[in-house]
């Protein structure tokens, strides 16, 4: 695990992402690659993931040259995967690739299926960080979001995680949901904080089709004028209030949507924000690696049956390959660096990427209170954080 010199954030340099696409149903706001299944073909999927790993390593043996700093099992609903299969996958990975001793190994879990025995199984399989999709403690909000767990399920799941031996647990919250009030969002933050998690991700609900990877039920309703979202001012208030509640409980905001007890930020997520490399396995999984002064981002086949078919036939399951030039990499590092509370060393970023220094724009943003210097780095102010995208556009 290293500290990224541009942002000062300790982050995984090489991570492995496994996408587990299966869900019991599709939530109306979700744009992820998923597959709805009544019975989960867990063993077949585990075989295929390990099969893809072999294909990827054969294609590029250099993946084995550096130890993995993190493994992340996301979805979909990875907590529908039998712990034994998860264990088999993690062992397979550890056999094929060197693994750092302090590697962060996360799994996303849905409170619906998160009893102590199951979670202990994941712990025993090697998972050391759990991310719980709590979303809200308000029954109405959970219903709007199409979640089938209850507020008490979420609290039970959290306690189960502790009982199963997890010392690093994150809770996901969503705000800006239709019908959600400021008081409701604050109450969600309070109840989440009361559980004393190491980490909270608090996401503003994203609905616009342009901002999503795919059409969702919500994006369609929004376009048809059938979705009443809280207005921008109300959402801004929620974000600020939630941040204050979490900070008061020792969960400091370190990224636009992420809060953590100091030292407990997600190393794997930090990899994405600091230009780290990731090997991606599973349907629709997105990986990235450096390539000279540029980079290569690959997306696996998004259709689960087609992904399975390809891997089982011994073919690389590529759907998209995007070549990134130095300028694209620069834009990403800027865009992502500005999401971080630790800030980004703009001068060094400009120098390393041969970009034109935007000194005048930076000065104006600092003068107007959107950006502030922290040592050699610049970060968005509280006000600036709400305008992250707009400010980034002024600096590229």
């Amino acid at each position: 695990m290293e500290v990224d010199p541009l942002t000062g954030l300790e982050a995984a340099r090489l991570g492995l992402y496994v996408h587990f696409p299966y869900c019991l149903r599709r939530c109306p706001y979700c744009d992820f690659t998923i597959a709805i299944a009544r019975s989960i073909p867990g063993a077949r999927y585990a075989d295929a993931v390990l099969g893809e790993l072999q294909l990827r390593l054969a294609q590029r043996p250099a993946w084995t040259e550096r130890p993995l700093d993190s493994i992340y099992l996301g979805g979909g609903t990875p907590s529908l995967w039998d712990p034994a299969e998860v264990g088999r996958v993690l062992q397979g990975i550890a056999r094929a690739l060197p693994l750092a001793v302090d590697a962060e190994i996360s799994l996303e879990a849905n409170p619906e299926v998160a009893d102590t025995a199951r979670l202990a199984g994941y712990r025993a399989a090697g998972v050391n960080r759990l991310s719980l999709g709590i979303q809200s403690f308000e029954p109405g909000v959970l219903a709007t979001l199409g979640r089938s767990h209850s507020p008490s399920d979420a609290e039970d799941a959290f306690r189960a995680a502790r009982a199963a031996g997890f010392e690093n647990v994150s809770a996901d919250l969503i705000h800006g949901v239709p019908g959600q009030s400021l008081a409701g969002a604050v109450e969600d933050a309070r109840r989440a904080a009361a559980l004393r998690p190491e980490h909270v991700s608090s996401y503003v609900l994203t609905v616009e089709r342009d901002h999503l990877g795919a059409e969702t039920v919500f994006s369609r309703r929004l376009r048809q004028g059938r979705l009443a979202l809280p207005d921008d001012a109300a959402v801004v208030e929620m974000v600020d209030a939630v941040g204050e509640v979490l900070a008061a409980s020792g969960l400091e905001r370190y990224e636009i949507s992420s809060h953590a007890v100091p030292g407990r930020h997600s190393r794997h997520n930090a990899l994405y924000w600091t230009g780290g490399e990731s090997l991606a396995l599973g349907a629709g999984a997105v990986g990235f690696r450096r390539d000279g002064a540029g980079g290569l981002r690959t997306t696996n086949l998004r259709s689960t049956p087609r992904w399975l078919e390809a891997v089982e036939a011994g073919r690389l399951p590529d759907e998209e390959r995007e070549t990134l030039g130095p300028e694209a990499l620069y834009e990403e590092r800027l865009l992502l660096g500005l999401r971080l509370r630790s800030g980004v060393d703009l001068r060094r970023l400009w120098a390393e990427h041969g970009a034109v220094p935007r000194t005048t724009a930076v000065e104006a943003l600092v003068r107007d209170g959107f950006l502030e210097p922290v040592g050699a780095r610049f970060r968005l102010t509280g006000r600036g954080a709400h305008l992250h995208q707009e400010i980034s556009a002024r600096l590229v």
């Binding site: 992402y17 901002h211 990877g213 994405y272 981002r297 834009e331 865009l335 709400h386 707009e390 980034s392």
Partner: protein, 603 residues
């Protein structure tokens, strides 16, 4: 009449914009075998991309056709094309002067339109033989008898011999060619007299220099001849002579009565102006062909590059455009808000749009154009007279004794059911009614004549006219001098700072309404910024209207992991592109269309 000319016929086509001139011209070329089927690109005469798209003709063309008539003799027919828009009335008059006859094309269901009427009168003034052609008789709504009656009533010419035609279906083409041969007189003019030739169009060709379209009136043009241009006394040697049939074909000489192309090492289009007379240096003609005018721009606007680094490119592009357009002028202009740019002069709004489109399309420039202005006469308290074509240059009101603005006489043709709407529109535009009369015996069509300030017509009057009349009204106008008006400068302030490029000169009575409209319109077109933006309209130091654009509250995306990153970067790139279409004025980003929006106000 000299025998050399007996087989020659020079004619043009007068038609309203969509009454089928180009299609008819194509049929004539087709029937005379001038253009083979393979070459027949649709609408041969309109060869500029823009002209084709807009269905209008900007540059005149001429084509020579060979035709064996029913009398068994061979004739040479020169079809001279004329520009088809009111902005180019002078060019039309010069094209007509090169002809002895004109085909008047009238749509069998639409009837006579204002612009056609203006051109027909011009043709009759110049003693052209006018042959009416009633086109589009294939349409179900065609009414040949009524159209015939209307031509007689409205124009006052005999329409009994009008040729019923469908250019689209190829009906009546033969009859038109026969009518041209029989009725258009062969050209007069003595080939042995001293040379007198009229320039009726000219353009710049990057290989050959200026190419001139001429009609030889007397004498003959010969290769190697030393010629003299009467308006400026400049001399050139004839290097090339040719005719279009329809592609350029060299000829050794052009004699009295003929139409052709002349290349004489003329480097600048300003040295070969439309309407000028060419003669032989050694044996000059006694007097020039009458009617030459220096064409002067009537409308001016600022043109600025969005990216100031494009200034040099813009200058090069303007220079190239001017090579080919003697009516277009430009000179450097500096704006506090927009930086370095140019003040450009145009014949009218269409001309302005054409220039802008060419700059953006052919030269790939992103530009901001400010609201067009007419030329005001400003009389100072000290008794000086100034010509002001830029609101930013208007002196402070205490130094102005009075101002005058250019006025037009506008003739509008409209079916009577839209008359009320047209009268209201003219009244709203400070028009003064001069005349109103019903055309023809049907009593369904009306011609109204208004005196109207040019500034009220330049912007969107034509569009409004069309929209209130469902496209049925047509407009012709001529300049009618200057009149004293109570005018004020309306300034726009963004966050307290005046933006010079947004100033307009308006009539005092309408300043308040205009101020409110401008602020409301700018509020619509300027996107939310990271700061609150105040838009104010002011006369002098007095603010008369205000709007506020509230600050953007939120523009941030929640999740940003593996697969999201490319999508978010692309969103960023899209935003960056969007910013390129904006001009940073102070701390506010103003989109390019805002600068024209100040005139497009009433809903």
């Amino acid at each position: 009449m000299p025998a050399e000319n007996a087989h020659l016929r020079n004619f043009c086509i007068i038609a309203h914009i969509d009454h089928g001139k180009s299609t008819l011209a194509d049929r004539l070329l087709d029937r005379t075998g001038t253009v083979s089927k393979r070459e027949a690109q649709d609408q041969f005469l309109d060869n500029m991309e823009l002209e084709r798209e807009r269905g209008i003709t900007i540059k005149a063309q001429s084509v020579r056709m060979q035709y064996r008539a029913k009398d068994g003799k061979d004739y040479v027919l020169n079809l001279i094309d004329t520009p088809g828009h009111v902005d180019f009335a002078y060019e039309v008059s010069r094209s007509l002067a090169a002809c002895e006859g004109a085909l008047l094309v009238v749509d069998a269901s639409q009837g006579v339109e204002a612009q056609t009427l203006a051109n027909v009168y011009m043709a009759l003034d110049q003693n052209l033989e006018v042959i009416p052609v009633i086109n589009k008789i294939d349409l179900p709504s065609a009414d040949v008898a009524r159209t015939r009656a209307e031509i007689e009533d409205v124009i006052g010419i005999d329409a009994s011999t009008a040729v019923p035609t469908s250019a689209k279906e190829g009906i009546g083409i033969e009859e038109i060619l026969e009518a041209v041969v029989a009725r258009v007189p062969p050209p007069k003019g003595d080939p042995a007299a001293p040379l007198k030739a009229l320039i009726f169009d000219s353009w710049y060709d990057s290989y050959r220099g200026v190419v001139v379209l001429v009609r030889v009136l007397e004498g003959a043009l010969e290769l190697k001849q030393q010629i003299l241009l009467l308006s400026n006394g400049k001399k050139f040697e004839v290097q090339e002579l040719g005719v279009y049939a329809p592609f350029s074909r060299p000829v050794p000489r052009l004699i009295a009565g003929e139409v052709g192309v002349l290349v004489a090492n003329v480097k600048e289009i300003h040295d070969a102006k439309v309407g000028d007379t060419i003669t032989e240096a050694a044996r000059p003609t006694a007097e020039p062909f009458p009617g030459f005018q220096e064409v002067k721009p009537m409308v001016f606007s600022g043109v600025f590059p969005i990216d100031s680094a494009d200034y040099e490119n813009l200058r090069d592009a303007l220079e190239k455009l001017q090579l080919n357009d003697s009516a277009f002028t430009y000179e450097p202009e500096t704006s506090t808000a927009l930086g370095f740019g140019f003040r450009c002069g145009y014949l009218g709004l269409l001309h302005m749009e054409i220039v802008q489109e060419r700059l953006e399309r052919e030269y790939g420039l992103s530009l901001i154009t400010t609201a067009p202005s007419v030329v005001y006469k400003v009389f100072s308290v000290k008794g000086e007279e100034m010509l002001i074509d830029n609101p930013a240059k208007l002196p402070a009101s205490q130094h102005i004794e009075h101002m005058e603005e250019p006025v037009l006489t506008c003739h509008i043709h409209v079916p009577d059911e839209y008359l009320g709407a047209i009268l209201k529109l003219c009244q709203d535009r400070r028009g003064v009614q001069k005349d109103i009369k019903y055309l023809g015996s049907s009593g369904k069509r009306v011609q109204v004549t208004y005196g109207m300030p040019l500034s009220e017509v330049v912007f969107d009057f034509f569009d409004k006219l069309k929209s209130v009349s469902r496209g049925y009204a047509s407009l012709d106008y001529e300049l009618a001098g200057y009149q004293t008006s109570d005018l004020v400068k309306l300034d726009v302030l963004i966050n307290g700072d005046p933006v010079d490029a947004l100033s307009v000169i308006v009539h005092r009575d309408r300043a308040y309404q205009r101020g409110r409209d401008v602020c409301a319109r700018l509020k619509e077109v300027i996107p939310k910024q990271m700061y609150e933006v105040a838009i104010q309209a002011a006369i002098g130091s007095r603010v008369i209207a205000r709007e506020t654009i509230s600050a953007m509250r939120k523009n941030v995306l929640a999740k940003c992991y593996g697969g999201d990153i490319s999508r978010k970067r692309k969103l960023l790139e899209k935003q960056k592109e969007g910013k390129k279409r904006m001009k940073q004025v102070g701390s506010v980003e103003i989109p390019q269309e805002a600068f024209l929006a100040v005139l497009k106000t009433e809903g």
